[in-house]
C-alpha cells in the first residue's frame, strides 16, 4: 500500500501515548515486522493517528505492527504484527 496522501506521522509521535503502558520508551526499540521481516526502530514506523486510536505500520510493506485503542476505561494493545521488540536497556533512565 502506498501513501500518496502523506497522512501519516513517524512512530516517534506515539511515544507519549505508549508511555502510559511501558516503563521505557519503546519507540527506540527495534521491531521485526511479522509480514516482511524488516527490522526497524518503532520510531521509523508510519503512524496513523486519525482513527479511534493509533496504528503503526511497517515503513517497508505497510503491514500493521501495532494498534493501540482506548475504549472508555480500557486500553487495547495489539502487537501481533511484530515477531519481537528489541529494547536497548542502557538508556532506560532517559526520555520516559
Amino acid at each position: 500500500m502506498s501513501s500518496p496522501n502523506y497522512d501519516y506521522l513517524d512512530g516517534n509521535a506515539a511515544a507519549g501515548e505508549l508511555s502510559k503502558v511501558f516503563a521505557v520508551d519503546i519507540t527506540t526499540a527495534a521491531g521485526r515486522c511479522a509480514e516482511c521481516g524488516t527490522t526497524k526502530c518503532l520510531a521509523e514506523a508510519h503512524l496513523y493517528m486519525h482513527g479511534p486510536g493509533l496504528v503503526a505500520r511497517c515503513p517497508a510493506c505497510e503491514h500493521v505492527l501495532l494498534r493501540l485503542v482506548n475504549v472508555r476505561e480500557h486500553m487495547f494493545l495489539d502487537v501481533r504484527g511484530m515477531t519481537y521488540l528489541r529494547l536497548d536497556t542502557s538508556r532506560s533512565e532517559e526520555g520516559s
Binding site: Y6, L9, D10, N12, G16, D25, T27, C41, G95
Partner: protein, 243 residues
C-alpha cells in the same frame, strides 16, 4: 505522568507562530529533539492533547520552550498562540521520544534540514550544541515559504555570524528576498548536493517538517549518497503542523 507548567514568557516568532516559555516543577532534563505533550482541559471536563517539539536546549532549571504554529482549523493551537497569557498554567507530559534526538556526545558532522515549523526540534539541537560547547560540525538547510516565515531569525543570524558557527542556508519556496541568488522553489537534488555535507563525511541527517517535505527530502539525501540508516526523520503530518 502529567506535570503543571506555568507560562513565564511569550514571544511571537511570526504572525502565526508563538514561542511559549514554561516553568515546570520537577521536569526531567530533556534531550534536544524531544517533544512534549500538552493537555488542555475545559471546564466541562473535555480535554485535548497535542504534541509539540521542544525548542529550548536541555537545562537543569525546568524551563521548557515550545514554538507553536497556529493552524486555521486547529482545536488547540489557536488557543496556545492567541489566548494563553503569562501566568496561565497548562499540563505537560514528557519529555518524549528517544529517537529523533541529538546528544552532545555525538561528534560526527550533523546535517539539519527543516521544512517550515520543522525548525523547532532542530533549533533545540543547535542551542544544545552551543550550551554544551560542542565542536561538532553542524549545517542547517531551512526551507521556508518566505522571509517573514523564518523562526528565531535574529538568533540564527547571530549563530551564523559567530566563530565556530553553524552554516545556515535558506531555501525560499514562494518568495525570496530581493537579489536572492536562487529563484523561489522547492529543494531539488542539485540544491541538496550544493548545500549539504558530502555523503563521504557520513553525516547524521535530521529532517523535520510536513510529511511530504520529509518524504521528498529524505529521498534526495539518499540519492546524493547518504546512507538511509543515517537519516532520522520527524513528520508533522499533511498540514505541516500538529493540529
Amino acid at each position: 505522568m502529567w506535570r503543571v507548567g506555568t507560562v513565564v514568557a511569550l514571544h511571537d516568532e511570526t504572525p502565526t507562530a508563538r514561542t511559549i516559555t514554561l516553568q515546570v516543577a520537577d521536569w526531567p532534563r530533556h534531550v534536544a529533539g524531544q517533544h512534549a505533550d500538552v493537555r488542555l482541559t475545559a471546564s466541562d471536563g473535555y480535554s485535548a492533547v497535542r504534541s509539540y517539539s521542544i525548542a529550548s536546549a536541555p537545562n537543569a532549571e525546568g524551563r521548557v520552550e515550545l514554538t507553536v504554529e497556529r493552524l486555521p482549523d486547529g482545536e488547540v493551537s489557536p488557543y496556545l498562540t492567541q489566548e494563553l497569557a503569562v501566568g496561565d498554567r497548562v499540563e505537560l507530559r514528557g519529555p518524549i521520544g528517544g529517537w529523533f534526538v541529538w546528544r552532545s556526545q555525538q561528534t560526527e558532522p550533523i546535517q539539519l534540514i527543516a521544512g517550515g515549523s520543522g525548525i523547532v526540534p532542530l533549533m533545540a539541537m543547535i542551542r544544545s550544541r552551543a550550551s554544551a560547547s560542542s565542536s561538532a560540525l553542524f549545517r542547517l538547510l531551512y526551507s521556508v515559504r518566505e522571509p517573514g516565515g523564518v523562526f528565531y531569525r535574529d538568533e540564527l543570524q547571530a549563530i551564523s555570524d559567530g566563530v565556530d558557527s553553524v552554516t545556515i542556508t535558506y531555501a525560499y519556496t514562494r518568495a525570496a528576498p530581493r537579489d536572492w541568488p536562487r529563484p523561489p522553489g522547492r529543494i531539488d537534488a542539485s540544491f541538496i548536493a550544493e548545500t549539504t555535507w558530502s555523503s563521504k563525511l557520513i553525516p547524521t541527517c535530521y529532517v523535520c517538517g510536513p510529511t511530504s517535505f520529509v518524504e521528498s527530502t529524505a529521498a534526495l539525501l539518499v540519492a546524493c549518497g547518504n546512507r538511509p540508516d543515517k537519516i532520522r526523520t520527524e513528520r508533522f503530518g499533511p498540514t505541516g503542523g500538529r493540529r
